[in-house]
């Protein structure tokens, strides 16, 4: 009997956080200025999910990782150049918008539809991974909705640690309020884990892994199905970058003691 995990990671691209972002009106609603040209990265929390998935698959025999990405095909291809060498996975690509202003409800429908069609995926062994929220929409709702659509009702949000116990059950730590973790035990897959930072650093590039991944990445990109996700029924009245530049007072060449006194006064005020 097969015992390994079938791990599906949902994750797509977001603009590199170091880029300046400016909202613009487009015929299909708000978007970003020069959106198609912005350098992008794999959404940070989804990236942690991918590294955790690969680590878990690597330490549990007969496991496999898929990465399901919804984004503009050409930009997904660029993204793959950055991440293909990180960890082994099979790409499932959906060709559609990856910006923050689409509705999670529609995105979840597209992702769940794509997961249902994955050839050879054993849903009884499924661990559905993703980030706790995206760096674009930052909603933290997509994974739960995909989970519901796939009928998975053991779900965890803001996970930092997942341990497979000797009896095959899962021990999960989720971030909750006040810097605490909630520990839960789950009988096993299927389950949804939306990851926080996890515990693994970004893996170094491995050209061999890259070559192996590329064999499935190129066909997946060629076969990427168009996904017409938008924001039906959502009416954005206004999107803007708040222009609050503070008038910073610079205090220089003042003894530490005087600065300390000023800080303490301010703290007590």
């Amino acid at each position: 009997m097969a015992t390994g995990f079938h791990i599906v990671v949902c994750g797509s691209l977001v603009p590199d956080p170091l880029q300046t972002l400016e909202p613009v009106e487009t015929p299909s609603g708000p978007g970003l200025k020069n959106e198609m040209m912005l350098p992008s990265v794999l959404d940070p929390w989804a990236a942690h999910a991918l590294y955790e998935a690969a680590h878990l698959a690597g330490s549990t025999s007969d496991s496999k990782v898929w990465l399901v990405s919804l984004g503009p095909k050409a930009r997904l291809q660029q993204l793959m150049m950055n991440i293909a060498q990180k960890v082994p996975f099979e790409l499932v690509a959906l060709d559609g918008p990856a910006g923050g202003f689409t509705d999670a409800y529609e995105v979840a429908a597209a992702l769940a539809g794509a997961i249902e069609k994955i050839d050879g995926l054993d849903r009884s062994r499924l661990l559905l991974f993703g980030g706790r929220s995206s760096a674009s929409r930052d909603a933290g709702v997509t994974m739960q909705m995909v989970g519901e659509r796939l009928g998975i009702t053991d779900q965890f949000l803001a996970v930092d640690k997942l341990t497979v116990q000797d009896d095959g059950s899962l021990r999960v730590l989720e971030r909750i309020e006040g810097g605490m973790y909630l520990a839960s035990g789950c009988e096993g897959p299927p389950a949804v884990c939306a990851w926080s930072t996890g515990e693994l650093p970004e893996p170094p590039n491995n050209p061999q892994v890259g070559m192996q991944n590329m064999r499935t990445i190129m066909p997946a990109l060629q076969q990427a199905q168009p996904a017409a996700v938008g924001a039906e029924g959502l009416d954005f009245q206004k999107v803007e970058v708040p222009q609050q530049r503070r008038d910073t007072k610079i205090v220089k060449d003042v003894p530490a003691e005087e600065i300390a006194r000023e800080i303490v006064e301010w703290l007590r005020s």
Binding site: P17, L18, T20, P23, P30, G100, F101, D103, A104, Y105, A135, D138, A139, G140, V141, M145, R149, T153, D154, F156, A158, R171, E174, R175, I176, E177, G179, M180, Y181, L182, A183, S184, G185, C186, T197, E199, P201, L234, D235, F236, Q237, K238, V239, E240, V241, R246, T248, K249, I250, V251, K252, D253, V254, A256, E257, I259, A260, R261, I263, L267
Partner: protein, 341 residues
């Protein structure tokens, strides 16, 4: 006419958490601005009588409850089943929910079940021309949007610090129990654990957010790093000021890279793009150079000051109210001395 359901769960003591009292205030305001839209309170937890009584005077037409031992703990399957039952029973078009970790996990799935739509991190609710619209941020606090939706029920998970907490509403509420079909529970809640074995440094209610940057671990003027001293200064300050400790990404990442780090620091402390965006009235950044992904973590910090050796510090310029160009080791040692007096 909109119908509003305010949902809340109780805390371990059986009371409503502070954020629930705040968001109830928001729900009441919204009901009023909609010209007296009917408001229902839906509660889930163990024994809910005390919690319902504590807000009996909120003007709700009814108090619905899903109670029982299974609902005292934070678990997706039971929380989603309970919330779904409350939403269906109430027939609400707007479901206003405090963004606790428990509801942030369960409510999106409930929205899916009832074919509703959901928005999280809501930072404002307004009524424009008779219909509700919300404010929320996109791209991790980079840009702010106002939006309305056609889809109903519309679930709004409202962040803490947006509305003032209600009080003086105590009385006697008539609770109506709502039956729930118990879902299979393959998950057992084991309990809460601290993120580090060291001192608890994250205090959401603190007056001050103290952010330590990677500079604390860098080589100083004498060519050496001074980690034990940095640790002591920071811990003494946290003790003296009761501040909450935040960190830049660079500093918490160092542990993953095997470098020496501050032992009480974990990823939980990180503020910014891939960390948290806490709300505190004041913030003091020390040894942070930072960039936009760092600064977004300060979006909801009102008064901001920084200590950095570099007068060109990209973090402070235009973003802090005051930048002290000074050695944080010296300044914080003096601050601790003064706080100890």
């Amino acid at each position: 006419m909109e119908k509003i359901l305010f949902l809340a769960h109780t805390d371990t003591a059986g009371a409503l958490p502070k954020v629930a009292l705040e968001v109830l205030g928001g729900a009441m305001e919204t009901a009023k601005s909609l010209g007296g839209a009917p408001l229902t309170v839906g509660l889930l937890g163990g024994d809910l009588k005390a919690a319902a009584d504590s807000v009996a005077g909120c003007g709700a037409e009814s108090f619905l409850a899903v109670s029982g031992d299974e609902f005292t703990v934070s678990r997706y399957a039971t929380d989603a089943a309970a919330a779904e039952a409350l939403v269906r029973k109430s027939d609400a078009t707007l479901v206003v929910v405090p963004a606790t970790s428990r509801f942030s996990r369960a409510i999106p799935g409930v929205a899916q079940r009832v074919e509703g739509r959901v928005d999280t991190h809501v930072t404002g609710i307004e009524i424009e021309a008779g219909s509700p619209q919300i404010e929320r941020w996109y791209y991790r606090q980079r840009m702010v949007a106002k939006l309305a939706r056609e889809g109903r029920p519309w679930f709004m998970l409202v962040d803490s610090g947006v509305f003032d907490a209600v009080d003086c509403l105590a009385g006697s509420a008539a609770l109506e129990n709502v039956a729930v079909e118990m879902p299979a529970t393959r998950t057992q809640v084991l309990g809460e654990e601290a993120a580090t074995a060291e001192a608890q440094t994250i205090r959401p209610e603190a007056e001050l957010l103290f952010v330590a940057g990677a500079g604390w671990t860098k080589k100083q003027a004498d060519g050496q790093s001074h980690l034990p001293e940095a640790e002591q200064l920071i811990l003494d300050f946290l003790r003296g000021s009761l501040a909450s400790l935040g960190s830049s990404k660079s500093l918490v990442d160092q542990s993953g890279e095997g470098q020496e780090v501050l032992s009480f620091m974990s990823h939980m402390n990180q503020v910014g793009q891939t960390g948290s965006t806490p709300r505190h009235p004041k913030g003091l950044a020390t040894c942070c150079h930072g960039e936009e992904p760092h600064v977004v973590g300060w979006r909801f910090i009102k008064e901001r000051r920084a200590v950095n050796l570099d007068p060109g510090c990209g973090w402070a310029q235009g973003k802090a109210d005051v930048l002290y160009v000074a050695d944080a080791f010296e300044v914080m040692a003096k601050v601790n001395e003064l706080l100890g007096k």
